[in-house]
């Protein structure tokens, strides 16, 4: 026996709010928070970059608009370009090293059957420590040139102590070692997650078809982990561009200006020095560079992976 079902038009309450409106209402707090915490400072900084605003100017001196003067000063400022050079060198030194270490450890962890959880936790521990603590404990104490344990071991082995913090080259190396030690964990975490997402039956099929391990790695594993790898790389590149804590604690930007990063220079100019105008122009320069780089990186990555 068939039953007939009838549908009736739903009665609309006088006070009913349409679905679309509900979405906006629920979105509103988040949007408001983002506007207050992100948009206002970003716009305010942009405004400051076009003025001569200084926090600590004494007397009745008006803040005035100066057009592009801060950006002109920036482009001709040798000191700033030195910090830009240091930042790029640092990024080029740490990110590839973190990728190689991260991939190696992640592959090993993915292939072991016993103790994986223990080792995974162990390898992630550096990530949980504050960069300031890492810089002080690993940096200032281990790399101390006079009585630090690394130089002590080297001297006991008959070598000369290394001028870790007083040679421009070695100081940069010391910073890279610390950053790689701490942030390789992040690459391990991301790449291990990617590796665990590779379906094992693809490898089994490849083996049946006669592929060796290397071929399976290049033809199956690498393409499948590529999206997460590229995302992780982008995050690390942006982080490396913004490095500041470990430099402040370990070298203070020295010797000379050999290890001063753009972000440290911005902090010194704008926050400590009170020159908000010039500091803002530096900050905007970094933001624009990162946006261009990030955009280009994403486009090129998508093309390389054949998504466009």
């Amino acid at each position: 026996m068939a039953t007939e079902t009838r549908t009736y038009p739903r009665r609309r309450s006088r006070f009913e709010i349409r679905d679309n409106l509900w979405k906006w209402i629920f979105l509103l707090p988040a949007v408001a928070i983002i506007v207050i915490l992100l948009a206002v400072p970003v716009l305010w900084t942009l405004y400051a970059a076009f003025t001569d605003l200084h926090l600590y100017r004494i007397g009745d001196i008006e803040t005035k608009f100066v057009g592009l003067a801060n950006f002109e000063k920036l482009l001709s400022n040798r000191s700033f370009w030195r910090t830009a050079q240091n930042t790029v060198v640092f990024m080029l030194g740490v990110v590839p090293a973190q990728l190689i270490i991260g991939l190696t450890v992640a592959l090993s962890l993915n292939n072991i059957t016993r103790g994986q959880k223990l080792f995974r936790t162990w390898f992630l521990m550096p990530l949980m420590v504050s960069p300031v603590v890492v810089s002080f404990v690993v940096g200032r104490m281990l790399f101390q040139e006079d009585i630090g344990p690394i130089n002590d071991i080297l001297r006991n082995l008959g070598f000369e102590g290394v001028p870790w913090l007083t040679s421009p080259v070695w100081a940069m190396v010391a910073l890279m070692v610390i950053d790689v030690w701490q942030w390789s964990s992040f690459m391990i975490l991301m790449l291990l997650a990617a590796l665990q997402g590779v379906p094992p039956d693809l490898h089994e099929a490849a083996r049946v078809d006669g592929a060796n391990q290397l071929q399976a790695f290049w033809k199956i594993t690498v393409p499948l982990i590529m999206p997460i790898t590229m995302t992780a790389l982008l995050i690390r590149i942006i982080d490396a561009f913004k490095v500041v804590e470990i430099i402040m604690v370990l070298t203070g930007g020295g010797p000379g200006q050999a290890t001063e990063s753009v972000t440290l220079a911005i902090y010194r100019t704008g926050v400590k020095g009170g020159d908000l105008a010039f500091g803002s122009s530096q900050a905007y320069f970094l933001l624009i560079v990162l946006m261009i780089f990030g955009g280009a990186y994403l486009v090129l990555t998508r093309r390389a992976m054949g998504k466009d």
Binding site: Y56, R57, K64, W164, G252, G254, K272, G274, D275
Partner: protein, 506 residues
């Protein structure tokens, strides 16, 4: 048409909401009370104090009984050194409440006082703490345009300290005399920077501390950029670059032009770089304040200059030089560069120009003091800085240094009190302090507004020379150019010269 807004309007209006929210989060829970007569008698009185963590804890411990006896409550905000300065400067710039009483670096006095952030110290408080007893070098760090806005509790200056025991050793002295043609002085150490250099060279590379290794050095100084390099370099440079006939040191008082690249400064940097590269322990061109202190207290170097050389040397856990150090005013020089004539002048008696490095933390009452706590706050600072309390504070293990004439005579208290210096060391230390603070050619630290930026510019240049990135002349040319540029941004060379004159008490 140029649209102009004042700095404060700009900060209040443009950054208003975010700034207020952020600062409110940093400030103590309760805002200053409006304070009606009725509520005043009922509400508990809270004194809010913002200061360094370590020193503030000692202030709190020291003041607890007074606070309790009077029925008040003390809320102490504890900050790191840089954090405290940043917080104070931000609260001054944005005109927001931080605390009723705060400790601040005297270098920042121009910024803080000229922004009307402080209460002028009432005459009755000055009378109650016997202000005439405070040494002139310290009074200057508390004043602005002839008025007193802060109170002292730490006479921070650089002392020269040396290994008296080594300098008195007949064998060592005879070898030194053979090498350099004069005797080491166990009373004064190095009288001039030339002698300091001889001592640096002589004590480097042989086992004078008897630990079986030739890892002993002549000197160690604070050389790390972003730490205390500003003070390390200026203490080394003043004897060459501060002429007794000229009040100015950093910039010319007439033109506002930076002097940092004149031959006096260049000579100081050239010599200092050589000393730190050759006669200091490994890493000596990147030493923090603590590194140099540890090297001295650990018996690795024969001489240094520093602030708190006394307190840390008394710690048996960290020091092997307790009772073995001599103290004196910073070394002087027979040759002093005269910026006015552009010539080096020769002095038969070495000219000293002790640097009032940092000038000390001072304590002040906020212009936005909680009205309810007004009397309590003044009572608090009066009790903390009056002669008896002050003496107890500087003779304890607080790290604070003496700042009153009466404290300079308190040999007994320093010798047998908590510091346990012994009479000879106590006398040396107090003589060095008095001579430095009361010296007619003493150099007041930079305090003419924007000092953090000037400091960073000098530290960058000097650090480049210490790392051999640039020659001393080129490095200091960069510093001078940066100084002039900062001055322009701060209101112009003349404007900064006028402020400098005011910080010198002119």
């Amino acid at each position: 048409m140029e649209r102009q807004v004042s700095r404060r309007q700009f900060l209040r209006l443009a950054g208003g909401a975010a700034g207020v929210v952020a600062l409110a989060a940093c400030a103590p829970a309760a805002a200053p009370a409006g304070g009606g007569e009725t509520s005043m008698s009922e509400e508990p009185i809270v004194i809010r104090y913002a200061g360094l963590d370590g020193m503030g804890a000692r202030v709190e411990a020291f003041m607890t009984s007074w606070v309790e006896d009077n029925g008040y409550t003390l809320e102490r905000g504890a900050f790191g050194q840089q954090e405290l300065t940043d917080k104070i400067m931000q609260s001054v710039a944005t005109d927001t409440y931080l605390a009723d009483i705060f400790q601040f670096p005297s270098n920042a006095r121009a910024d803080v006082i000229s922004a009307n952030a402080l209460q002028e110290i009432p005459q009755e408080v000055l009378d109650a703490i016997d202000f005439d007893d405070v040494l002139p070098g310290i009074v200057n760090t508390l004043s602005w345009e002839g008025k007193i806005y802060a109170l002292p509790y730490d006479g921070d200056i650089h002392y020269y300290s040396f290994r008296k025991d080594l300098f008195a050793d007949p064998d060592i002295n005879s070898r030194f005399s053979d090498a350099y043609g004069y005797d080491l002085s166990p009373e004064n150490g190095a009288e001039t920077w030339d002698q300091w250099r001889n001592i640096c060279e002589f004590f480097t590379g042989w086992d004078w501390n008897g630990n079986g290794e030739e890892d002993d050095f002549g000197a160690g100084c604070m050389t790390k950029r972003g730490d205390t390099l500003w003070w390390g370099f200026n203490s080394r440079a003043t004897a060459y670059a501060k002429h007794p006939d000229d009040d100015a040191y950093f910039i010319d008082l007439d033109t506002g032009e930076a002097r940092l690249n004149n031959p006096g400064f260049v000579r100081a940097l050239t010599e200092w770089a050589e000393e730190m590269q050759n006669w200091a322990p490994p890493g000596g061109t990147n030493f923090t304040y603590g590194d140099s202190l540890n090297a001295m207290n650990g018996g690795r170097i024969a001489q240094t200059y520093n602030w708190d050389a006394v307190t840390s040397a008394t710690d048996p856990e960290a020091s092997v030089v307790k009772g073995l150090q001599g103290y004196d005013i910073l070394p002087g020089s027979h040759e002093v560069y005269n910026s006015k004539s552009g010539e080096w002048d020769y002095f038969d008696v070495p000219s000293h120009a002790p640097f009032h490095a940092f000038g000390g933390w001072v304590i002040a009452v906020s212009a936005q003091v909680d009205e309810l706590a007004y009397d309590a706050v003044w009572g608090f600072v009066t009790h903390l800085t009056k002669p008896e309390s002050g003496l107890a504070f500087v003779t304890d293990l607080t790290g604070a240094s003496p700042y009153r004439f009466s404290q300079m005579d308190a040999v007994e208290e320093f010798a047998t009190g908590p510091l346990q210096l012994g009479e000879e060391v106590a006398k040396d230390y107090l003589d060095a302090a008095r001579e430095t603070l009361d010296h007619p050619n003493a150099v007041t630290d930079q305090a003419f507004g924007g000092w953090v930026q000037y400091r960073d510019a000098l530290e960058l240049g000097v650090s480049k020379a210490l790392a051999n990135e640039l020659s001393p002349q080129d490095a200091l040319d960069e510093v001078a150019a940066a100084f002039n540029e900062i001055s322009e941004r701060m209101g112009g060379l003349q404007h900064q010269a006028e402020l400098y004159a005011r910080t010198l008490g002119r």
